[in-house]
């Protein structure tokens, strides 16, 4: 095992390399492109015995990926934001095809307005597609999750595509020390691709992805996807335990940080959880009982584990780096559903939305959110969801609007309407 400094993107590429993927359908998009560039270089240099094909869109890329997987090879692909949405039709199809492949998404906010920086609306748009989802907070986790994802995808009890998510910029372009497992050890953990009889072969005619007539058959196949996704929870636990035994790194479906006797808990996914941890360390040092819960596995949704970790707390703050306009934070909705109807009543839930389009969440803001949560618990009433935005940020927007309208500074938007 070697330990080197890798970006999140390079770690994803290493995951694919160690998984000895056969086929990489690709299409460039920032901030994912480094992944396919790295793989292309390895393939061209003869380091990786694989084939990379650049399609003309992510819709085609995903189609080729799924078609290859159901023909019988191990497939890796990667995209971000607009690309994931451009291929959305095929995400649902690939799950329905039961195509066992791994797709890395490097999260990036969705247009409009167009931006390069991350939030989770892209990956959460794929939430109901039937792809399983693993979310990363470190570069090491990116590499390891790709390996876990293949075991999960190819398990005969699951047989579903898996999406591994990392945040653009904060992980994709950040170098961290990453332990690279020995290829032989990976080969032991992840046996060669087995198609479980799902393939195209001369002499063995098969029809895949055929039409159905009637809701009964349609429901049957959709339920099959759902049941396989549910079954994936137990398979994930097995696979993660096997991974820990072999490589010494532990990846429970839900990470609990300083939760032992925490009264208040923050819930987040992705790399910003690392910022939350720093804030929590400070608060704990000051004698507060605050922890963090971070789902790694988002599909299947680890509801039982979240109930176990959160059901007895006084208060839980969900920090969503996504926004469902007209509703609010998506994780908050999901968590509310998971914690509803507990015999002991469950914790008070407070919703925050922040970190959209790569906007930072500062340490003081975490401290403030904990304070709002504490207050809410004391009063026994959850305040309305809060959208993180500072007075200073608003001033900055106003200044730019003044420039755009050719006004002298400080007049602001409202005054100029005619």
């Amino acid at each position: 095992m070697t330990r080197i400094l890798l970006t999140g993107n390079a770690a994803a590429a290493w995951g694919a390399r160690l998984a000895a993927v056969d086929y990489v359908p690709a299409f460039p998009i920032t901030p994912q492109t480094e992944i396919i560039e790295t793989l292309a270089e390895w393939i061209d240099g003869g380091v990786l015995d694989s084939r990379l094909v650049t399609l003309e869109s992510e819709h085609s890329m995903l189609t080729a990926a799924g078609a290859a997987a159901v023909t019988g090879v191990r497939v890796f692909s990667a995209t971000s934001s607009q690309g994931l949405l451009y291929g959305m039709e095929m995400l649902y199809n690939l799950a329905g095809w039961r195509a066992p492949l791994v797709l890395v998404n490097v999260s990036r906010g969705l247009s409009a307005p167009i931006t390069l920086e991350p939030d989770h609306n892209d990956v959460l748009a794929a939430r109901d597609s039937g792809f399983l989802q693993l979310h990363c907070a470190t570069c090491q986790e990116v590499l390891d999750n790709v390996l876990l994802a293949y075991r999960l995808a190819e398990d005969a009890r699951v047989r579903l595509p898996v999406l591994v998510n990392l945040d653009g910029f904060y992980l994709s372009f950040t170098r961290e020390p990453v332990a690279i497992p020995e290829p032989a050890a990976v080969a032991d953990f992840l046996p060669p691709f087995s198609d479980c009889g799902l393939h195209f072969r001369g002499g063995q005619p098969s029809s895949q992805a055929v039409a159905v007539l009637g809701g009964g058959l349609y429901s049957y196949f959709r339920y099959q996807v759902h049941l396989a996704a549910e079954q994936a929870a137990a398979v994930y636990a097995e696979v993660a335990a096997d991974f820990e035994r072999r490589f010494g790194r532990s990846y429970p479906a839900v990470e609990a940080y300083r939760c032992k006797d925490a009264e208040l808990v923050l819930v987040m996914i992705g790399s910003f959880a690392t910022k939350a941890k720093a804030a929590i360390d400070g608060l704990c040092a000051a004698g507060q009982r605050v922890g963090l819960v971070r789902p790694r596995l988002l599909r299947p949704f680890p509801a039982a584990e979240l109930r176990r970790l959160l059901g007895h707390r006084k208060g839980v703050a969900v920090i969503d780096q996504n926004l469902s306009p007209g509703r609010g934070g998506i994780l908050h909705t999901e968590l509310t559903a998971a914690l509803y109807g507990l015999p002991q009543g469950g914790p008070l839930l407070v919703s925050f939305v922040g970190g959209l389009g790569g906007r930072d969440i500062a340490e003081e803001e975490f401290v403030q959110m904990v304070e709002v949560l504490r207050q809410a618990v004391q009063e026994g009433i959850a305040p309305p969801p809060r959208l993180l935005f500072t007075e200073e940020e608003l001033q900055q927007v106003r200044r730019l609007q003044d420039i755009a309208h050719g006004r002298s500074e400080g007049k602001g938007e409202g005054e100029e309407t005619s």
């Binding site: 359908p25 399609l55 019988g72 039709e89 195209f200 055929v210």
Partner: protein
């Protein structure tokens, strides 16, 4: 690529839910007779999607339905996966399959064109069968970019389609593929020859088959062959092929039947004949045919 001749595994089983007299199905039958079961048919949304309805299929070989835009990309994935396994010794050449794309005009001329163009760029080894029924048939025959000028469709009910049929043959040929041919099931010998030629070649190949469609075009299913023959005899559907960088007509109708005889058989052109003949539009349509053949024979 398989070059297998006719075999017991090369007929489409009867009993599909397609309409009686479907010109597209006739062409597919001819193609399948040559290609046989050592194929994966990669399909896009359209009438033919209903050939394989769980748990039945008329195909002796394999089938993959994709979506409307991306059959060519599906073919890429299948072809690449087979090639990878052949190269890595995981399957034998006896287990190899030919990759066939099957789509309608709506997909081939429109939504799937970007994926197809890219497959041509890459020189993908596949055979594309487009059954051109000149409209979005499966959704009730709205106009597509393959609809001929003046045709009534579900979205051009009043005075007919205002555009003109797109030239997909030329678009394909501009990519310099291995083979492009237009054909029609009503000219079985011409079609059979082109099918054999296409099957024997490698690289990107298109069979663009006009598919008289009783349901969408409004004629009696018994007239499918007649309508098809008239399409050729009037010169509105030129039979040609592109091979080795050159486009050649495989049949030049020098004594062309007046176009009106083709149009008159079809409900979609009825407004050109009643209550009174629309002489001006009929003349324009005839002139467009004349102009085409003028530049061919000159």
């Amino acid at each position: 690529m398989s070059e297998s001749g006719p075999s017991s595994h090369s007929h489409l089983a009867p009993g599909t839910p397609l309409c009686a007299g479907c010109g597209g199905l006739q062409a597919l039958q001819q193609l399948y007779r040559v290609l046989g079961d050592k194929t994966v048919v990669v399909n896009a949304a359209g009438c033919m999607t209903l050939l394989s309805i769980y748990p039945f299929t008329p195909f002796a070989g394999s089938w993959l339905y994709t979506a409307m835009a991306c059959a060519a990309a599906g073919a890429q994935g299948v072809r690449d996966a087979l090639d990878i396994q052949l190269a890595k010794g995981r399957i034998s050449s006896a287990e190899d399959l030919a990759t066939v794309v099957l789509t309608g005009d709506g997909s081939a001329y429109g939504m799937g064109l970007s994926a197809t163009s890219a497959a041509l760029d890459r020189g993908l080894d596949f055979l594309y069968l487009c059954y051109d029924n000149e409209g979005y048939g499966n959704t009730g025959h709205q106009y597509s970019s393959a609809t001929p000028r003046a045709a009534h469709t579900a979205t051009s009910r009043v005075s007919g389609y205002a555009g003109s049929k797109k030239d997909l043959f030329a678009i394909w040929a501009a990519h310099r593929p291995s083979y492009v041919a237009t054909a029609i099931a009503a000219e079985p010998q011409d079609l059979a020859r082109k099918v054999k030629k296409a099957a024997a070649l490698r690289g990107p190949r298109l069979l663009l088959v006009l598919a008289p469609c009783p349901t969408g075009w409004g004629f009696d299913p018994a007239l499918t062959v007649k309508v098809g023959q008239l399409a050729v005899e009037t010169g509105i559907w030129p039979l040609k092929e592109y091979v080795d960088g050159r486009a050649v007509h495989t049949k030049i109708p020098r004594q062309r039947t007046p176009l009106a005889e083709y149009l008159r058989l079809q409900g979609r052109f009825a407004h050109l004949f009643s209550p009174q003949p629309d002489e001006q539009r009929l003349a324009e349509l005839q002139q467009a045919v004349e102009d085409y053949w003028q530049q061919v024979t000159e």
